[in-house]
Amino acid sequence: MLAAILQVAIFIAISSMLFWLVGIYGSALRDPRYLDGWILAVGMLVQLMFHVANRRARLKPSSAVRWRRFHVSLGYLLIAAFILHTDFTLPDTGLEWALWSGFVVIALSGVFGVLLAWSLKARMVLDEHPGYEHIARRRAELARDIHAVVAADNSDAAGSRLPQVPYDAWVRELYARQLDDFFSGPRNYASHLVGSPRPLKRLTDEIDTLSGYVDRPCQDKLQTVRELVVRKDREDFARVHLGLARAWPYLHMPVTYSLLALTVLHVVVVYAFSSGAW
């Protein structure tokens, strides 16, 4: 936590420095857009180097982590530089919109990826997860397990003369009504995307409520069911987050390449039409 606060403080300090630097540059009879523009362009090039290094070089895990941290920190600074470059205004023309949109998409996707990885809950859930590829199998196993649990008959019919209360039937009814569908596939995508525990809580509350009306064996069964539901919910969460973690670079990277092409054009146009102010 302290490290995070320190990182934020450093980012704010560097960004402020950047703002001040561009400010005094602009006051010195120069066009500040040239300064923050070049800071932006060089930063983007360095960010691209991170990608190249990741792909081409065989980085040690520790180096890869450092690279990633640098990439993220520089990314934040580039957002500050971008805000300076656009002077807190929206673009006016098509080419500017393309540039602006490209950068915004890259920046948002990057920030999203970082937030995704930074999420405390995700860390707790996913740290021990074997990976996205295993989710389907694990979900199937859970479905099979819960089916077996629910199907097991705990009633002591032989030892009792009186008609039994149908606790098992209640559990089966619960399964048939809600759990079967829940375990049959990925569920609650939107809630997991926003980190909402409400669907899980609704299920567990229902199980807990039922648990108060059943006998001891059924209570144990429902406890098992409850654990399986929680595990299934984690799998759904893992699926959403691991899926997003795999998906955002598909946006981040291609748009970066497009932005690179547009940036080259932008620089050429700027210098070709420069009217003397630098």
């Binding site: 009879l29 023309t93 598909y250 990277m253 070709a272």
Partner: protein, 850 residues
């Protein structure tokens, strides 16, 4: 990359084949890159121009600009020509496009558009100010990280401050305090946050008009008030002052509404107690003729009575040639009226000067008045334009010069002819020498040239014409068509052999004029009126009258009585018809049979003449109609039209007719009391017509820049004569004189105006401040200081050495309102960047027929 490979990449990228996630992502990125590049290419191919490359809309003022090339000089016409802009040419190329519409005086791209001298002077001053001000850390850091001295040292492109493509509503002229601080050595945040104290504001420069407020309030206005106690002089400050020209300058209302009541008479000379009221323009200077005669130096005829000096204007005109300049330089060292101590060279120079003056008069009559200005140039070497040339001569009528010449140098034509053609002189000078009084010096009759004047339209008929048998046919025809002329008085058209001796002589003193006609001496009294008698003998009265009419018909009568060498000569030279000569045309139509008769309408009859004579005798005084042989000659005997003396009827030129002269008690100077040309004694004067007199303005404008302080040059002498303490017109009584760096001077004719404010870094709009003035009005800010040496400050030429009648405005006065919480106080409130202004010229318009 080929299409198939591209397709394959797309397949791989979108997972249509089995590849790793990273590889797939890379391939999608590559495809996006390629798609983007192709998109750009497609955009270029489809777009009509290059406007899609614009980073943003133009400001509304520039929104009508159609293409990039209008401002971006290197962008070219084609779709890709703009790439050439990468190979930068002049960094000011685009800025030069700006000043095709926004005119900025040179040096346009210097900081503030000010000259290097001004900038250096300002920098030196601000260095002293900056030494007293604290420097902020930001300013210090900026100076270290991004120094501006190198930028400010070179030309500044317009885009340094005015950045386009921001938006349609952006104010391009906005300049921030930070931008000002970027260059300025004295850095401060705001007016009340460190702005230095004012130094003698607003009197950085003295006013162009010399007006002693203290003196007027103390002395002159009270005197006026005594005359009319019902009025207050002046009613308010606004009586004389008004904000105009962009509301920045409190200019003066104008001479006619303010000063003329008291000062007009000073300009036109009415208030002058002594000395001539006009400016001597042309004069025959008095010369020690006795010494010249004694040394046997021939100067031809010259008025002995003249006591005039060589006027500065004549010095300028004589100096129009290199020889003339040498003569003037030499003559300036001599006393022309006393040459007793002069050596041979001096006398030779004087003689040459006399002939130069004669040539000048000759040329003024023969050619255009402006030609006498010769190679005069304005200060920058340019020739005077038509307007200036016209103003320099102030419409000097030829008749005035002709009249003067007839009176002063009646034989000028002959003398010049001899001088130009020595053979003529040799032939004619077999008699006595020219220097001796009364000694004839005219050439033989058959070779005497005559001067024919141009008609009213300015056509010059040649100064010297000698007609022989080989003369052009049209000349002969003209002589024939003229009917009985001087040489063909019998009406036969054939030239009778004329054997009279010369009729024109070169005399030291011009002969008295017996009869003048419209300012021209027609008949002179020579040797006991022999000339008149000879004329009378040679030419019958009627013919004589008509010949004079013929001269009048030619519009001019500068030539003396024409010699009668031959019929052809007379016919062609004197009676040569000229265009637009109505009278001459009428005279030509006189029937042959009536040639000897006088004109009843124009000539007095015998009875009338007798009556006139009787009237004159009865009066016992000088008759207005003098006898032909009488003493009707004086320097004023041949007044021109400007002198106010009317001409006599033509018929009075008959031999027996008396000289008719209208005497007037009004002298020529008084006659011209409202200005204009007049002749008096041996000089032609110009009397200023009033304020804004073009003649004075033109000569001061011309001579000022070339008039050095020592007044050694002729131009300097003219400038000195027009700007002296007692100079006619009294221009420089109110219009100050500034010294130029070239050594010359300039008279400030324009009062304070927006144009005068050019070069000033400070602006002040009076109008918004009117409502905060108290009871004291203008004196709230401008305290009258009567003891300041205001007038003395104008005795030197540096306009920046200013002393005012009013006390300087202090910073505290402005700080009463211009603070953080009240009125605005940014730099541009009171200062301007483009000190010489920026103007937008009127757009060029094609006329409908183009």
């Amino acid at each position: 990359m080929s299409l198939s490979r591209c397709f394959r990449s797309a397949q791989l990228a979108f997972g249509m084949t089995s590849v790793s996630a990273n590889a797939r992502r890379d391939r999608i990125a590559l495809v996006c890159f390629i798609v983007t590049v192709f998109g750009i290419v497609f955009l270029f191919s489809q777009a009509k121009g290059t406007r899609f490359l614009m980073p943003g809309p133009l400001s509304s003022a520039h929104s009508a600009l159609g293409d990039c090339k209008s401002c971006h000089a290197n962008s070219g016409e084609g779709k890709l020509d703009w790439i050439l802009g990468l190979a930068r040419g002049s960094p000011l190329a685009d800025s030069k496009a700006c000043i095709t519409c926004h005119k900025i005086p040179d040096p346009a791209f210097n900081p503030h558009g000010a000259t290097q001298t001004t900038l250096q002077r300002s920098t030196e001053r601000l260095k002293k100010v900056a030494a007293r001000l604290p420097v902020t850390h930001a300013a210090r850091a900026q100076e270290i990280a991004f120094p501006t001295s190198d930028i400010a040292a070179r030309d500044l492109p317009c885009a340094t401050c005015h950045q386009e493509h921001q938006n349609s509503g952006v104010k391009l002229s906005k300049v921030t305090n930070a931008q000002c601080n970027a260059c300025h050595i004295a850095k401060f945040d705001s007016f009340d946050g460190g702005h230095p104290e004012f130094k003698n504001f607003p009197f950085k420069k003295r006013t162009p008009i010399v007006f002693d407020h203290a003196g007027h309030f103390r002395k002159h206005y009270p005197e006026l008030a005594k005359k009319d106690p019902t009025k207050t002089f002046p009613a308010t400050c606004a009586t004389c002052h008004g904000s105009r020209d962009g509301k920045n300058a409190m200019g003066v209302v104008g001479f006619e509404k303010t000063c003329s009541q008291c000062h007009r008479d000073q300009i036109i000379g009415k208030a002058r107690a002594s000395g001539p009221k006009g400016i001597a323009f042309l004069a025959l200077p008095g010369i020690d003729l006795e010494t010249l005669r004694a040394k046997r130096i021939d100067v031809g005829e010259w008025p002995e009575a003249s006591e005039a000096s060589l006027t500065p204007f004549m010095k300028v005109m004589v100096s129009r040639t290199a020889r003339g300049r040498q003569l003037i330089e030499h003559a300036d060292r001599l006393t022309l009226q006393d040459l007793s101590a002069a050596n041979g060279e001096d006398l030779s120079v004087v003689a040459s000067l006399v002939w130069e003056i004669k040539e000048l008069f000759y040329q003024l009559i023969e050619g255009r008045a402006s030609e006498a200005l010769g190679d005069l140039t304005i200060g920058n070497g340019a020739k005077p334009d038509v307007v200036l040339a016209a103003d320099l001569t102030a419409g000097l009528p030829r008749d005035v010069i002709v009249g003067a010449q007839q009176e002063w140098l009646p034989n000028l034509a002959t003398e010049i002819a001899h001088r130009r053609n020595p053979n003529l002189a040799e032939a004619g000078s077999r008699g006595p020498t020219a220097q001796e009084p009364g000694r004839p010096a005219a050439p033989p009759p058959d070779t005497v040239p005559t001067v024919a004047q141009s008609d009213g339209g300015g056509k010059t008929a040649g100064a010297e014409r000698e007609v022989s048998d080989g003369a052009p046919e049209d000349s002969k025809e003209a002589a024939e068509q003229a009917g009985p002329s001087e040489g063909a008085s019998d009406g036969t058209g054939e030239a009778p052999p004329v054997t009279e001796p010369k009729v024109d002589t070169v005399r030291t003193n011009p002969q008295d004029c017996v009869l003048s006609l419209f300012g021209a001496c027609v008949i002179t009294k020579s040797n006991g009126s022999a000339s008149v008698e000879n004329d009378a003998v040679r030419n019958p009265p009627a013919f004589n009258g008509r010949s004079n009419l013929m001269r009048l018909g030619a519009g001019e009568s500068a030539q003396p009585v024409a010699p009668h060498g031959s019929t052809e000569k007379i016919g062609s030279a004197s009676a040569l018809p000229t265009k637009g000569s109505t009278r001459y045309a009428e005279a030509r139509q006189v029937p042959a049979g009536t040639g000897r008769k006088s004109d009843d309408l124009l000539s007095p009859t015998a009875e009338e003449l007798r009556a006139i004579k009787a009237h004159a005798e009865a009066a016992g005084t000088k008759s207005s109609f003098g006898n032909a042989a009488g003493p009707a000659s004086s320097n004023n005997a041949l007044p021109d039209a400007a002198s106010g003396t009317a001409a006599v009827p033509p018929s009075a030129t008959q031999t027996s007719a008396p000289t008719i002269k209208i005497e007037s008690a009004v002298d020529a100077e008084t006659w011209a009391e409202y200005g204009g040309w007049y002749r008096q004694d041996h000089a032609i004067y110009y009397r200023p017509t009033g304020h804004k007199d073009k003649f004075l303005y033109a000569w001061l404008f011309l001579t000022g820049p070339q008039a050095k302080q020592d007044h050694s040059s002729p131009l300097g002498a003219v400038f000195q004569s027009l700007t002296g303490k007692d100079a006619q017109g009294a221009c420089t009584k109110c219009h100050s004189i500034d010294g130029l760096t070239s050594g010359g001077r300039v008279v400030n004719f324009s009062p304070v105006s927006a144009a005068n404010e050019r070069g000033s870094f400070t602006r002040f709009n009076h109008e918004p401040h009117f409502n905060i003035m108290g009871e004291q009005g203008c004196l709230s800010c401008h305290k009258l200081e009567g003891q300041s040496p205001y007038l003395k400050s104008y005795e030197q030429g540096d306009p920046l050495h200013a002393v005012s009648n009013f006390g300087a405005v202090k910073k505290e006065l402005c700080q009463g309102c211009h603070t953080q919480s009240k009125a605005r106080q940014d730099c541009m409130t009171c200062h301007k960047y483009h000190v010489n202004g920026v103007t937008a010229p009127t757009t060029s318009t094609r006329t409908p027929d183009q």
